[in-house]
Symmetry: C2
Subunit: 142 residues, 2 copies
Amino acid sequence: MLKIHGVLETAVYVNDMQRAHVFYNDVLGLERMFEGDRLFAYNAGPGSVLLVFLRGGATEDLDTPGGMIPGHNSVGPAHFALRIEADTYERWKLHIAARNIAILSEVKWPAGGQSVYFNDPDGNVVELATPGNWPNDPVTTG
Amino acid sequence: MLKIHGVLETAVYVNDMQRAHVFYNDVLGLERMFEGDRLFAYNAGPGSVLLVFLRGGATEDLDTPGGMIPGHNSVGPAHFALRIEADTYERWKLHIAARNIAILSEVKWPAGGQSVYFNDPDGNVVELATPGNWPNDPVTTG
């Protein structure tokens, strides 16, 4: 049976790669697995990769020894969400605030999770979400 | 310790929600967990959600009973990758081709994985990738 087993790569587009690295590595604590001119790749958990692309830097198709990687690009403050454990939610908020990053809002979800939203340096809308947001990521009772 | 436990939500922006649904539900086989005017949410695996937003439909902040959800948007053919099992790669290719979706390219990765690329109906660059693309998603030997 043909089945999708998760999102492997999520892309975010930025105007300044080093500034983005401070945010994604230093503030969010994501390990950089690959560093190129137009692309940094971060380990966001097992089988979960956050790709940070230079805006306009990956528009052209790219020939590689293994085959051609099609070009892509995006403009605008896009959105993605990262999973965090419920018992780290308040500490994450303190950590974000201590880095002088403005918290845009918080949401409590009907299924029991909660989210905090803030911008990356390029205005992308980052969400940290605890379990209990979607049916396939329920609150775990321990 | 503050730690990210994966990407929970990956957003893709489209101009026609029903046309996108045919692609994401019918062709890729993703179950729709939520259906709204400006947002469909698909189960992409445990703790992995693909959000399909109407372009320009989520630009404004949205007040909900649990709190405000900040607005966001994106224009352009963005990129994301979905995980598939290695032994389904060839069948996925046949499945895609049988739906008259043009395959843009294929790539063999140094770590042993391979990827096939094609567009969604709005030109977003979709990749189906087997394990062996990134260090945190290695080829499994069974």
